[in-house]
Structures are given as C-alpha cells and as structure tokens.
Symmetry: D2
Subunit: 344 residues, 4 copies
C-alpha cells in the first residue's frame, strides 16, 4: 500500500480492533439504556480500581466539549469563572461553550500550555483579592489539560502544588484528559490515575482520541460531588441513549490494560519521529514528550513535506516559518513511521 | 435460546448488522474529522436525494436532546419560545434543555400527542395577540414529533395546515423525527421525506432509535437557513470528533433503502402484536399505528405479564389500571413476536 | 380640576410626597454607593424589626422582574424549575426572564390566581415522583404572589400548608409582594410580615407599586441563605449604583408606618368602588379584596365608561363581555372616587 | 461646613437640583408606564435632535451593567463574542454579566484604557482568520468606553478608524458613555453626539454618573436596528415600571443644555485639581483629561492625604506606591476644590 502518509490527527480512524470485535460479539444483546447497563457497570468498576478510588462516580459522555461544559456548569455558581491557560481547549476551541453556560474563562498566559500554582494564586489575588471582589467574576475552578494541548506534561510536584492552592482557595480542580493515554504511557510522566483521583475533584479519561469510536470517562473521585449529575448531563444533551456503546468501549479499554498498550504504541512511534527530526537537524517546538510532535519548518521544507505527508497546521511564528504538527496514535504502524522518517 | 422477552425499547441493542459490517470494513480508513469526510458527504447526498431537496444542509448530531436544543437555540431570538404539545419530548423529557438555552416551551394540551393548526393559531392569539405582547414570550417556532411520543401520526393534510399557519405567522416549523423510520414505513402514513422538506423549515431523521449506534440527521431544506450552524453545534458540545462514525451509519441507512426496510420490519412486528392484543380483548391506548403499542392492563394482567416480558411503564390512568408500552424495532424477530403472542 | 379620571394603574404617578420631600432634603448628602450607605442601613434595620427577623438579609432592587430572576437564579440549580400559578407574573408577563436564566416555570392552573399545598404536592409527584425523574425538570422552588395578580389573598392557613409541603420536599418558598402594602392593609388579610419571615425562604416587599419611585425590598429571613448574593445581582445588572435612592425611599416607607398608611388609603378607596359597583348591579370578577377591582362589562357599558375613565383591559371571557380593571393607590383621592362612583 | 472632603465618586449624591425640582412639580401627573409617556417622548425628541439622528430609537434603562448586557445580547448571535479593552467595564466590573448572557468577552490589552482599529483587526485575524474559525468564538461586536474607565478619550480620527474596521468586518460598534457628559465638555475632545450617531451602531448617554438619580439613554441611530428591543429589555428585567422617572430626568438634562453645563462644571473642577497636583510635583497616571484624576502617591503622602479627603483606590503599581483616584461631578463646588488644593 503506497497511499499518502497521514499524521494529521489521532481521531481520524475508527476504533481499536479489540473494541470493534467486542461490539460485534455483543451487538444483539439487549441492555439497559442511558448508561444503566452491565457493560457500563463493569467499565466503572475497572476504572475505580485503576484509579484506586472505590467510591468514585464514573460517567461516560460522548465528547470533550460537552464534558467540559457539563462539569463546569455543575461545579460553578452563576457568577463564578474557571481559570485556564490561554491555550486551554475551553479557552479557544469550543466556540464559547463555557460562556454559553454563563461562566467566564479566566485566561492566564501559559508556558508551553501550562499554568502553575503561583499563576493560580496570583489570578485569585488579582481578581478576588481586593475590595472590588463582589463586582468581579469569582474564580471557582481550575481547568488543566493533561497532556496539554501542546503535548506537554504536568509533573506530580506541579500537580500537587496546584491541588494544594485549589484546596486552600476552595477552587474545584478539573483535569481534561482527552489524550490521557499518551501521558500515562510516557516515560517522562510521573502522574498516575490514582494521583489524579487523589489530587483532583474531577477529571476525565479520554476515549475519542485514545482508541474508541467516541466517549470520555468522567471521574469524580468522591461520591456525590455533584448530586443529580445525570439530570445535568441530560439537560446538556450529553446523555447517550445507547449508553452501552460507550460503556462497552471503556470496558474493553480497561481490560488487560489495553489503554496502556494504546498509549505505548503511540509514544513509541512519536519518539522515533522526534529522534529522526532531531538527528536531521529540525527544530522542535515545545518540549513535548507525548504523541504530538511540533516542528518548525521553513517555507521550502513545508512545501516539500506537505506534498508527501498530511500534517496539521499549528501556527506561524514569523513570515518564513510555520509550526506543523505530527500526531501518532494507537493505529500508527511501524511502517508508517519508517516511511515518514525516509521522507524527512 | 429462551431468555426473557424484552419489548421495552427500540434503542437497547447495537446497530443493524449492515452498519456494523461496514464499520468493520472501513475501520482503518483515515478520514476527515468533525463531519468533513467522504462517508458523511455521501450520506448527505443520499439524504438530499431522498428528500428531493438538492440544496439542503444536512448535519449529523449524536442524539435527540442535543439536536433539539441546538436547532431551537439557532432559530429563536432570546425572548422567543417554542410551541409544543404538552407530551412533547422537549416539554417533559429533556430535563429543561430548551429552557437552559433561554427559551420557554409554550405547552399546549395535545390530543393523542398531537396539536393542530387551530391550536397553534389560538396560542399565537393568546400569547401574542393583544396589547401586552411585548411583555410576553413571543412564539417563534413550532415543535412537532413524527411519529409522536405516543406513536400517532400527523396526516399530510394536518401537516400542510400547520405549515401554512407557521408561514403566515413567521414561526419556524421543526419536526423531531426520532422514530421517523417507523412513520415512513407505516401504511397509515401519507407524509414522505419530500413532504417534510417542502413543509418544514428543519427536521431530523432519527438514527439512534432506527438502527444506528447513535446519530440523527438534521435537515435544513433551504441552504444556509442558519449561517454558521457548525459553530452553534460546536458551542453546544454537539459535534462528534469522529464525525465519520455517524456519517458512515447514515450512508448505510440510505443505501438500498435500508432505512425503509428497518421501518417495515418493526411495523410488521408491531401490527402482529396489535392484532393479537385486539383479538384477545385487550384495550389499546391511543390510535397508534407505528412501532409503539400502548396497552391498558389491570393489576392482575400486569403482574402476570411482567413476569415473562419486559415492557415499559407509561402511565397510571386509575388506581386499578396501568398503561404499558411494547416497542418493536429493526431487530425484533418473528420468533420473539410469536413468543410474546403466546404469552398474552 | 376636571381632567379625565384614571384608574388604570398603581404605578403611573411619582412617589408619596413624604418620600420626595426626604429626597429633596438629602439630595446633596454624600453617601456610600451600591447599597452600602446609611439610608439603606437604616431601612434594613426597620424592615428587620417589622418582620421580627433580626438576622434577615435585606437587599434593595429596582423592579420586580429583575428581583424574581435574580432570586430564582440564586436558589435553583441548573436543571431545577419553579412552580407557579399559570397567572403568575413570572409565568406570563416577564418575557421569559426566568427561562433566560435557564429555568422552567412549572405552571399550574390557578384558582383565582392561587395554588394550594395540594397542587404543589401533586406537581411534585407528577414531575418528580416516578422512575423518569432524572429526565425531567426537578421542582426546586415555589413562587406565590401576595396579593396575587388578580388581587386575591392567601390566608395564613393556606400559606402555612404551602410552607409545610415546601419544607418537606426541599422547595424554596418565594413570595412576590409587588403589592404587599395592599394585602397588609386589607381587613380580610391575616398574613403579617413576621408570618412571611417565618414561613418563606425569601420574599419581597414591593415599593414601585406601593408609593416609591422604584424599588423592591428583598428579604431573606435567614442570614446568608445565598452566599455572595451581591455578586449575583451585580451579574444580573440589578445593582443600583445610587443605592441610597432606593434605601432612602424604603427608610421613609418604614418610618411611622407610612407603608401601612399607603395601603389603607388604597384599600379604603377600592372598597368604596367595589360597594358602589355591587350596589349598581355590576358583576365583579374574582373575590379580590385588595386594591385591584375587576368588573365584567357588556359592550355598551364598556363603551360608555371608557369615554370617561381610564381603566385597564384584563380579558375577554366571551364575545359580548370584557373584564376591566380599576386600580387604586396611595395617591387615589376621595374626590376621584366620588367622581368615579357618579359615573358608574 | 467643615465636613471631610469627598472626591471618591461621581455617583454618591442625588440628582442635579433642576431634575429634582421638575420631579417635584410633576409628581402627581398620571403618566403612561414602561417608558410610554410624554416625558420620555419629549426626552427622545431632544436626544434625536442633539444627535442629529432623526430616526434614532432611544430607550431609557436604569444602569450601565444591564444596558451593556441587554445591548450585547441583542446584537450578538449565541457563538459570538465582544472585543473589549482588558480594562473595559464589561470585562472586569460586571461580575460576568456578559458571559451570563452566553457571550465571551475577547479582552485585548488596552493602552490607557483604549484599543485601536489595528488591535481590532489583529484580534479578528487571530480569532477568526484561519481554518479553525468555526471552532472559536466569532467576534461580533466591539465595546468601547468614552471616556474610558481611566478617563482617557478616543479622538475622532481614532473612532473613525475603528468604525471603519467594524463596518468592514461586520462588527457592531457599541460605545458605553457612562460618563459621556465629561468627554463632551472636555476641551481636548473632538467627538460629538452626531459623530457617535454617525459612527456607532449603538451607544448610551450616561445619566447615573452625570447628574440624574439613575438612568442611561440608549441610542440606536438607525431605526429598528434590533426589532422587539422592548421584549429584550423586559426579559432582562431592565424595564423601569415608572419609566417616566427616567424620561423626565433625561428631558431635563437635554433642556437648555443642562447636560453640557454638568460636564463643564466637573471638567473645570478637575482641571484645577490637575494643575494644582502638577504644580506641587505630583505624578499623574494616564493622560486623562476628563473628570477622573489619577495620582501616584507614595506611602507617606497616601497616609497623610487619606486622613483629610476621601479618594478611591485604583491600583498598586509597586510596593511603595499607590494610584488613587479623585473624581469631580456636576455637584463639585469651587469651595471643595479650594479646600482640596490647600491640602495637597
């Protein structure tokens, strides 16, 4: 097969074959609906175990934007806002979904996609530290992405410091793990699922970008953090009628650690590409060790490479250069990586 | 296999096998994302043809509640409301999704789930016909379900009359076709897809309850009825990242008229059950010719039948009787119907 | 003076002269702003005393619609709705302000503008009593008007029963007292301010329709019922920059029981009109003992009376009759009443 | 009179005496309600004349935050946002009122409270200029304050350039004139009311901070820019029942150019204070020629001055210095200015 290489994205193919196989085998099983089914129950139990959070409430939603909106609507009071890096998905790529729910996104300048405990403390002081506090939006939650939108990681120490300031100030800490498989599988990473369950108030384990057809597993480590959460996601139009379709996929992802394997496949491929780029003298943008690779290309290199491989545009730092992104996934083959490296 | 019969629901199994087969065959194809892919394009073309609406905009959303909310938010101004039968899905079973978007549902007492052109005209006059009109919610749209939540049908004449009053008053006419396959396949039905395209401003062709894993095909017969509609569904968290998963399913449903076959299977099964119920002296509630069968049971019959077959509770008209619902689908087998009839 | 009589409304003149005089005397006093001033503090103290609610939080807002919206937004969770009579101001005459805040108004058919404890209990059972409860809007509050929009009163026994069911079900009980002066002054009334403070979670004492230029005094009998309430009204645009303008007016209304005097003036005038109407054989609509008088007029009487006196249109029960409304206020003079009676 | 000097604010006293006198004279006049009265009609006519905008729609709202929210809700589609300087009132001091309406505030770093046509163009390009545009908030309006929150002015040339880019991009240009009297009266200003009517889509002429008890006059130069605008403000709880209270005040402000006189009084006082500060070696912050004076004080000067005069805190640029604000108004007397200058 000699079709054009495509490294544009980690959600442009179907599901990991093990998932599809399981769907096929269970296609005619009659289940409960709206998430009240045996597949979902089994998936919840496995996720609780993986997170060492035996009392956790686990919900399966379809996609990231609706998950973010439902979570933040449920934990914020009307006049409260959410602190986020200015590169955060909720800040720029959700067409204003958080604002539609009535909440301001308090954007902080991130460093390589990240904000720090000190940034959060300073934001609190600026917005809420003086006599005008009742006239301003009150910070009510902190939104982090792990890995971030530019593929970087929070260390355990960083996350612990952030969690600590959140608890001090009464801020709900929420982690968007759309690509969590790729941080968990990353050698540089030291934040585990039990760490997330211990340090966050709520987080989600991404499925859509990590091998399933769709679906995100939302985890509230503490039971009943948000009473009546089902009604909230129903009101958001975020309840999947055939909830078992998401449940079965997560049950498969958390069987025999398929989720870990998916991450490792993508990271190994990404690491080979990074090393090839470095050895051939390319400049990488960000210190991003996960499944997204950002490379600075001059116009000639961009033109030449674009002919042979599909990448995605990231930004244009100056008139002669462009940052392009390669993304690997559970489905990236060694042969695809070989072919890409040849072309570089 | 002698497991317990289950007629509770038309969305408690996977997808029609033809859909799953096609997903399997195309699982590793790399597609565009967010609905911009070849499967979705092909499905759109087939739907336009089926609706005889060559300029229609067609969108694939995940489920009914989010489709209803996105549509109504996009066609109503802030102070406008939507007229609906008081049994309408938006009125009672969406946890306030329409109100969350800021819009009042102007509920009218329905007759067997239906409202008439005269009801709509009277509602307009009541709410908006006198000198206080600027203090009240302005009716801005009409919501119908076809078939209705209780399985009944609007005739073509009824729909034409409703469309006419809507155009006279400037009301957007929106039809929720969550179970549209089952009206289209019904001998009593005289409303076709081209009729819907001609008479409505927007309608959706249900997938979730009609054989797909998920997905509703939203049709605006007139191009650009709502500019920037993608941004609206993005803001609603209603964009499926792997849009091709919905597109491929609708492409299959509209190939070789699978959608029609699915409807006919369910209707044939429902009709057999209805005849058996009638011949055995049961009382049917509503004059519902589609895939939902509502039967009035006294306490003894309810207890006896509940042991052997799963139905769904509908309502309790008096202390000794209960209305229960049987639902058939694309997946209902003749053998299941035989077994049910034996039990009645 | 022989100008045309005007009984259309109780908010079509300025303020009670005592208020305007006090404004004049204090016009150049430099005060704190946004409600943090000596006039407002004094008014709050007097209202707490009048309500026998020493810990009450008292806020001054500009008008009824914004007060209703701010209160209900602050006490309801996103998927919760508010129970109201279908004649309730929030239900029909606020252009969807409650829905704009995301909340459904659960309208119950009122009797002469009133709903009962039994109605509320039945509504809870219907909406929230069965297995579909998580798919529907949860009743979260009850809205009453006292006097109602048609001038009727809740008795203390009725209010106690309603309060009791609200506490049993966890519903916030909110009373809209836009015309409260006119119930308090009414001989038929047995609900006092301390009763309201004891039985409600929140209520407001109307100013706009009871002698001030503008302003409603919102009372939460229990301190900190809604933390950060200032931010909520700020976000609603409901904070008056010159808060002292409202505070001074309420301070005057609650000095030497001016509020009581205002009510008595209007009720005495209304009672004289009612007696004249009855004695002349007119049919009164509703059993309304407060400052609104609803009278059924045939077309001839309507035409004749409309020439000489301004009333307001209420409704048209049949083709030949119209219900018209006379309203009295603090400003209605005996001479005006004499002249009206002559014309009847 | 030797009470403590107070230069904290321009809205901490009642109304200009001419207004109060007129209220007194007309207190018992029976008027139409909700803004449909002779005072309001007269005020509208005078404002149209002053703006040379004979077809303008003019509305009287109570305060700035609710005006901003109502305007932006009415001109923006759900997924659109409003561009503002990061010091804009809507951006920081309205507790998230714009976000509550569902709209993102796209904050740009201002220079002395101002943004430029080039800033707006760059913002459009960043947010909406590339292939991701349908995933982001679309800029739909531009919000300016005149004078700005830090007392600075847009020149006519600047405003014309901004208006031009807005018309090119289809952005609604909205000017918040909470303190407009003080720019109009300023010698440095070259932007007149007719200029605003020519260059903006909508703007408001502030009353609350410019001599009235309350009220802002909102001007849409083009008739029916927003159809059904009354319903929008009703839904926002922003309709004053006794609309004539606002109408009468604006009618007085625009009689014999009282609005101009109010501005000149405040500007003359401010200019005397600025000259005194400069001549005594104080450092002024911002180049602000209107009625707000920002002065940088070291700790000693702050302590000393705070004992004798009430100012308002602005910010703290470093550990040893504080920026404080003096504000003058229509009510500032020469004697107060004399006493302040002595104290400096």
């Amino acid at each position: 097969m000699n079709e054009r290489l495509n490294f544009a994205c980690d959600y442009n193919q179907g599901a990991h074959p093990a998932i599809l196989q399981r769907m096929l085998e269970n296609n005619l099983v009659k289940s409960g609906v709206y998430g009240d089914d045996a597949f979902s129950e089994s998936a919840r139990a496995k996720i609780r175990t993986a997170c060492r959070a035996p009392e956790a409430d686990v919900w399966f939603l379809v996609g990231g934007t609706q998950t973010n909106a439902a979570v933040l609507d449920s934990v914020l009071r009307p006049f409260e806002g959410v602190i986020s890096a200015d590169t955060g998905h909720i800040c720029i790529h959700e067409a204003g979904a958080i604002e539609r729910g009535g909440h301001k996104v308090l954007a902080l300048p991130g460093k390589a996609g990240k904000i720090s405990a000190a940034d959060i403390r300073a934001c609190w002081d600026t917005w809420y530290g003086d006599g005008n506090r009742s006239h301003v939006v009150k910070p009510g939650a902190v939104y982090l992405s792990l890995p971030t939108e530019v593929g970087t990681l929070y260390s355990l120490a960083e996350l612990e410091a952030i969690s600590s300031v959140c608890r001090e100030k009464g801020l709900c800490l929420y982690v968007d793990g759309a690509r969590l498989a790729y941080s968990l599988a990353c050698p540089e990473n030291d934040v585990t699922l039990p760490d997330l369950a211990r340090l966050c108030d709520v987080f989600y384990i991404g499925g859509t970008k990590c091998g399933s057809l769709l679906g995100e597993a939302l985890v509230f480590p503490k039971h009943d953090t948000v009473p009546d959460f089902f009604s909230i996601i129903k009101q958001h139009g975020a309840v999947l009628a055939k909830g078992f379709v998401a449940g079965l996929q997560f049950d498969t992802l958390f069987t025999d650690n398929l989720y870990g394997e998916i991450g490792r496949t993508a990271i190994a491929a990404a690491e080979r590409i990074r090393q090839a780029l470095r050895s051939k003298g390319y400049t990488l943008a960000f210190d991003a060790p996960t499944n997204q690779i950002f490379v600075l290309l001059d116009d000639a290199a961009l033109a030449s490479l674009s002919e042979k491989v599909e990448m995605s545009f990231w930004d244009k730092p100056d008139a002669e250069h462009t940052t392009m992104r390669f993304v690997t996934s559970w489905a990236t083959t060694e042969e695809e990586v070989d072919r890409l490296i040849e072309l570089l």
